[in-house]
């Protein structure tokens, strides 16, 4: 059997409704395999369970059923000690949505040092890790700045540096671009993709922006706590109806090709990304 780096088996999660006392299921039996070094986007409407899934993967939440394996180890087992949970969170880091809610120190470099300090890393090595992490996200010149004076995109990059300093193998971005302006979004996306490309870090990004999802290697579509689709952007965007029924979008370029095909135009090319669409349209004119 091939060993996936992260694997979930019939993973379920439900919470108790305060007013009725009844169990409200959020995830119904998720079976998912993620290999080391993959770049995955998870999309789905609000309440589809995508943030819950992300929070389960680094045990911010505990599953109510099923199992999660990371690197061959059952991390959802009741035998997990606090140390084990810390070790998991060091491997699987998470960047959240609100840039103002995740920085803890009053100086950028101290914020980045927070994680490795808690891991008990020797101070000389912390210095090295902080410098490396800030350089990697392009924030070296802001090392002595106050975080609250930074732009949203810069704050998110500091938050990313704080996780890099813990040397994770996987990073989860939970709508980390949602509150940013277009420039900030680009900064975070570029940083994310650099980490994937150059450091081979497994990237799982949760987003409402279909153009961001189109950049991943693989898209997982969640709908009402179940996996609706799982495939490459090409596969996912080639079949728009299920997406639209699930309250999602198809990127504009792909949508254009679908409309033309419906009009009987033969466009045999790919449509996964805007560049694919460009080539697909050009090919028809070059015949």
């Amino acid at each position: 059997m091939s060993q996936s780096w992260i694997r979930t088996e019939n993973l379920t999660y439900s919470y108790q409704d305060d007013s009725t006392g009844e169990d409200q299921p959020v995830l119904h039996g998720i079976d998912l395999s993620i290999d080391r070094g993959e770049y995955i986007a998870i999309i789905g409407h609000n309440g589809s369970g995508k943030s819950t899934l992300a929070k389960l993967l680094n045990l911010v939440l505990e599953p109510t059923g099923g199992a999660i394996y990371v690197d061959g180890k059952n991390v959802s087992s009741p035998d997990m000690t606090d140390e084990d949970v810390f070790a998991l969170r060091q491997k699987v880091g998470m960047v959240f949505q609100n840039p103002d809610n995740q920085l803890v120190a009053t100086v950028v470099e101290e914020d980045v040092a927070f994680g490795p300090e808690n891991l008990g890393v020797p101070s000389a090595e912390i210095r090295q890790r902080v410098d490396d992490a800030l350089a990697m996200v392009g924030m070296t010149e802001y090392a002595k700045h106050e975080p609250h004076r930074l732009s949203g995109g810069q704050k998110q990059r500091v938050a990313i540096a704080g996780i890099i300093a813990m040397m994770p193998e996987c990073m989860i971005f939970d709508e980390s671009t949602a509150m940013l302006d277009p420039l900030g979004r680009r900064e975070v996306l570029d940083t994310m993709e650099m980490l994937h490309r150059e450091k081979n870090i497994t990237i799982i990004t949760i987003t409402h922006h279909m153009d961001e999802a189109a950049r991943a290697d693989r898209i997982i579509v969640l709908d009402d706590g179940r996996i609706l689709r799982d495939g490459t952007p090409e596969e996912i965007f080639s079949d728009p109806e299920p997406l639209i029924e699930a309250g999602l979008d198809v990127p504009q370029s792909a949508s254009l090709i679908h409309r033309l095909r419906k009009q009987g135009i033969e466009l045999p090319g790919k449509i996964g990304t805007p560049d694919d669409c460009l080539e697909t349209i050009c090919a028809v004119f070059e015949q």
């Binding site: 309440g47 999602l248 409309r259 033309l260 349209i281 004119f285």
Partner: protein, 292 residues
């Protein structure tokens, strides 16, 4: 007909100090009555400053803000009246909900206007209806609602003051595609039903292209473009040059032109791109047939 006119507006932060910063310089513009205007610009372009000038939250360093042709600062003591007439919905307004029930939260504005209990009740129902909030939700705590519903409650709270102008800063930010369309469609319905003037500030060119009648573009504190949506988006190359994101479909059309496919200038919706390509493909087919 212009509802709000800005005449040679400038705004300087911390004038006369080393931190002096010109947020807006020499802005002249008209916000058309009974239409939806979109305000576009980078972070730091002066958008937020401009929005705060419209309802008198800040006073321009120089120049005049005219509401129905009248300078809003003519009688500074009456500036509160202007704030009832020009309603402002901030970014992520759901973080500002605070009352125990949805009803009480929506009623907060009208109460401050000193209206009678009956008038307040009428306005709450009206605002709930206009924002698509079911009556049954009114007695719930706002904190039990979904993100999209909370945002509609916050907007209803401003609509309940029956403002003549409704200004919203990023009304769809952070919502999923369905939530985004619900809010934007609701605003369009609201505009059509009430005849109010609506202004939307957003970074999403795709949304602006779909929902706004007029577009205003700011960059570095100056007005760069102003006009009907199709006029502004017809200049997508210039928009792209000032570093603004243009809709993905506009970008695709510009790239097609670079590859020698004679797409029309200024395409900003998928429908327009489809029509244009169908036409080009058809004329190409006719030409090919001609050779046979």
């Amino acid at each position: 007909m212009s509802k709000i006119t800005l005449e040679n507006i400038s705004y300087v932060y911390s004038p006369g100090t080393p931190f002096e910063m010109h947020a807006l310089e020499g802005i002249n513009l008209n916000i058309r009555e009974n239409a939806i205007t979109g305000l576009i610009g980078h972070t730091g372009s002066g958008k937020s400053t401009l929005v705060q000038l419209l309802n008198g939250l800040t006073r321009p360093t120089s120049g005049r803000v005219l509401l129905d042709g009248k300078d809003i600062w003519q009688e500074p003591k009456k500036i509160k009246q202007v704030r009832f007439r020009v309603g402002l919905v901030m970014q992520y307004p759901e973080y500002q909900l605070f009352e125990e029930t949805v009803r009480a939260d929506i009623a907060f504005g009208p109460k401050n206007m000193g209206l009678s209990a009956q008038e307040i009740a009428e306005r709450v129902s009206e605002a709930a209806l206009l924002t698509g909030l079911d009556e049954s939700l009114l007695d719930h705590s706002p904190f039990d609602l979904s993100g999209g519903q909370k945002r509609r409650v916050a907007i209803a709270g401003v609509i309940a003051m029956r403002p003549e102008v409704l200004v919203l800063d990023e009304p769809a930010a952070g919502l999923d595609p369905r939530g985004r369309d619900t809010i934007l469609n609701m605003l369009r319905d609201y505009q059509q039903k009430t005849g109010a003037t609506v202004m939307i500030v957003s970074h999403s060119m795709e949304d602006m292209a779909r929902f706004c009648d007029d577009i205003i573009v700011l960059a570095h504190g100056k007005l760069v473009m102003q006009g009907r949506g199709h006029e502004v988006f017809a200049r997508s190359r210039e928009l792209s040059d000032v570093g603004l994101n243009i809709p993905e479909i506009s970008r695709l059309c510009l790239m097609l032109r670079e590859r020698g496919i004679p797409m029309d200038d200024g395409i900003f919706t998928v429908e327009q791109a489809e029509q244009c390509l169908l036409r080009l493909l058809e004329s190409r087919e006719q030409r090919t047939e001609g050779y046979v």
